[in-house]
């Protein structure tokens, strides 16, 4: 008895018991192959290559392009980067071996640690706000209102814009003289709140964070909405019947049922922040003023291209890779857990 596993196909011969039904169909068709060993009349079967090998061969051909590309441009660069991180290199002349010197340098580099601190702060703040707002608006959208599609479409639209476009746009909103934000504040009589949003080292990072939040909240709204819509309404109805108030229904029933979706959403934003912070910071402030918005990625690129210290940049990349890799591994584990 062949065992069927869901999603696993075994290319079988028509002789086994279970395919008797199919064999009958095959016999009655005029173009059915005459040989009973295999329904595949190809060269391979005529050469009497065992079936297993045929399948493996076919699978190999199917996987080869992706595998080649993947290994060459995603896996191999990690090893290459590691190798370079042990050298001093300006990208043009021959690299010189320096052992762990780059790493020692990086560990002692104040700007690097500041950038790392900024990156982590960025990731955490942005994640918390995006997910809270996302959940809030998803809950609003999920209630019985009209125009759900319209609001959802509107809320999600910023997600589709390039971060470069958004960065430039918001640089203008934040512009101290002509920008929208200060103009609004002034017209509302809140002139005291006017600041140099991007020029004040204490504010700059937070201003940039707001931009990231603006762009990506829509994604989390949509994720939470999908999660909410996947919840069986009976749970919530049962809670109401049992006398729970709205708030209790929310916190005791809905939220726990959303835990998988929440975990995915949270990790998505944490991991994304490590790299997407590059685009927005580069376009808006280039890490300034005075490195107050410097994130690890921008510092890596600056080190590599402006200072031509490719070895050191690779060392930093390796460190970032390890940190991101750990987070990514956790994200993958969480995303792969099937809902029970």
């Amino acid at each position: 008895m062949e065992r069927f596993r869901r999603g696993n196909i075994r290319l079988r011969q028509p002789h086994s018991a279970l395919s008797r039904r199919f064999r009958k169909t095959a016999m009655t068709k005029t173009h059915a192959p005459e040989r009973h060993e295999s329904t595949d009349d190809s060269l391979l079967s005529r050469l009497r290559i065992p079936h297993r090998v045929q399948v493996a061969g076919f699978a190999f051909v199917m996987i080869a392009p992706a595998l080649l590309l993947f290994v060459l441009l995603t896996i191999y660069p990690v090893g290459r980067g590691l190798w370079i991180s042990f050298h001093r290199w300006d990208g043009v002349s021959d690299p010189t071996w320096v052992g762990g010197a780059n790493y020692k340098f990086v560990v002692n580099d104040e700007v690097f640690w500041n950038a790392l601190k900024n990156t982590v702060l960025f990731a955490i703040v942005v994640t918390v706000v995006k997910n809270l707002l996302g959940l809030l608006f998803a809950l609003l959208l999920n209630s019985k209102i009209r125009g759900q599609t319209f609001f959802r479409t509107a809320g999600f639209m910023p997600v589709t814009f390039s971060f470069v476009v958004i960065g430039v746009l918001w640089s203008w909103i934040y512009n101290p003289t002509f920008g929208l934000l200060n103009a609004v504040l002034e017209s509302l009589g809140l002139s005291a709140w006017i600041h140099g949003w991007l020029s004040d080292p204490r504010l700059a990072l937070w201003s940039v964070m707001c931009v990231d939040i603006w762009k990506w909240t829509g994604l989390h709204i949509v994720i939470f909405l999908a999660g909410l819509q996947g919840i069986n309404k009976e749970y919530q109805e049962a809670a109401t019947v049992d006398g729970a108030s709205r708030w209790q229904g929310l916190t005791r029933v809905t939220l726990p049922l959303l835990s998988h979706v929440t975990a995915v959403s949270v990790f998505l934003s944490i991991l994304g922040a490590f790299v997407s912070s590059y685009d927005v910071v580069y376009v808006m402030t280039e890490g300034g003023p005075f490195h107050s918005t410097e994130v690890v990625m921008t510092w890596i690129v600056t080190t590599a291209f402006r200072f031509s210290k490719v070895g050191k940049a690779n060392a930093m990349s390796m460190i970032l890779f390890v940190v991101a890799g750990v987070l990514g591994f956790l994200q993958y584990r969480i995303m792969s857990v099937r809902e029970d």
Partner: protein, 279 residues
């Protein structure tokens, strides 16, 4: 009874209010961008947020010229199409083999590909540059296409895997009985059934590639190969006086995506949630 109803109505009003605020916050900057792109320089500085009095459509023509948008657009289209042309077949074929064919090491290969999902794109940007240099492909569109396709693979395979696994396992058998080769079975039977998955990864990868900046800025060194995002950053550096034109440039990058999004928004959204929610 009445008290219950009015409290309910108040709650609904609050909900609508919240959503309207969200919509305004999400869309107003975009609206402002379009309005301001149509103003003259003088009007731009004088009155930031009004409707342009005489829409200066020529700002768009000027921006097109100064920003060499025709060239940039072409580059973006080439890179995006190239990336899709490589990533889509490679990912669906690999996902098919790893999901529905039986061979030794199948599971291992699947986890291997999933490694790519744990590495956020861009962390390996600098090392990738070294590899591209080794390959002698520095400063070419091909290098961009290959790199971006490689980065799209992990997620695309993950999505296609989810779609393939939901198809009944008897399909290949039936196809083979009918005289298909394994390849034809894939091409004629399985793939058409998984076409929503293909549409999903096409949209996601396409959007990602169109908006991509980090790797583009690292791999592209000469001005005539710049894609739209890269061109924009350099344009902003140069166009210090003509802000309405800069906004016109922004609008030109954004509007095609917006239109596409409005047409296919269900696909966009379902694709992203598929990865996140269904797992």
């Amino acid at each position: 009874m009445i008290k219950y109803r009015s409290a309910d109505a108040l709650a609904r009003l609050a909900v609508y209010l919240g959503l309207v605020v969200m919509t305004i916050v999400a869309l107003f900057p975009v609206l402002w961008m379009i309005f301001d792109s149509l103003k003259s320089n003088a009007e731009f500085y004088a009155n930031i947020w009004s409707y342009p009095r005489n829409p200066m459509w020529q700002n768009y023509a000027l921006a097109w010229q100064r920003g060499q948008i025709g060239e940039r657009l072409l580059n973006s289209v080439i890179v995006t199409t190239g990336t899709l042309a490589i990533a889509l077949p490679a990912a669906s074929m690999a996902a098919y083999a790893v999901t529905r064919l039986q061979f030794r090491g199948r599971r291992l290969l699947f986890y291997f590909f999933m490694l790519g999902m744990m590495i956020p794109n861009g962390v390996t940007a600098i090392p990738i540059l070294s590899v591209i240099i080794d390959l002698g492909l520095v400063n070419t569109r091909l290098s961009l296409i290959l790199v971006l396709a490689a980065q799209a693979l992990a997620f695309d395979i993950f999505i296609m895997h989810a779609f393939f696994i939901s198809l009944p396992s008897e399909l290949e058998e039936a196809a083979l009985i009918d005289g298909c080769t394994p390849l034809t079975a894939f091409w004629r039977v399985i793939l058409p059934l998984a076409s929503p998955g293909l549409a999903t990864i096409a949209i996601l990868t396409g959007l990602d590639t169109w908006n991509e900046f980090l790797l583009t800025s690292i791999l592209v060194r000469s001005a005539d190969l710049e894609t739209l995002p890269l061109g924009l950053v350099n344009f902003v550096g140069r166009a210090t006086q003509a802000y309405p034109q800069m906004f016109a440039y922004l609008a030109m990058i954004t509007v095609p995506v917006m239109i596409l999004y409005l047409i296919a928004q269900k696909r966009f959204i379902s694709g992203l949630t598929a990865g996140a929610v269904k797992g």
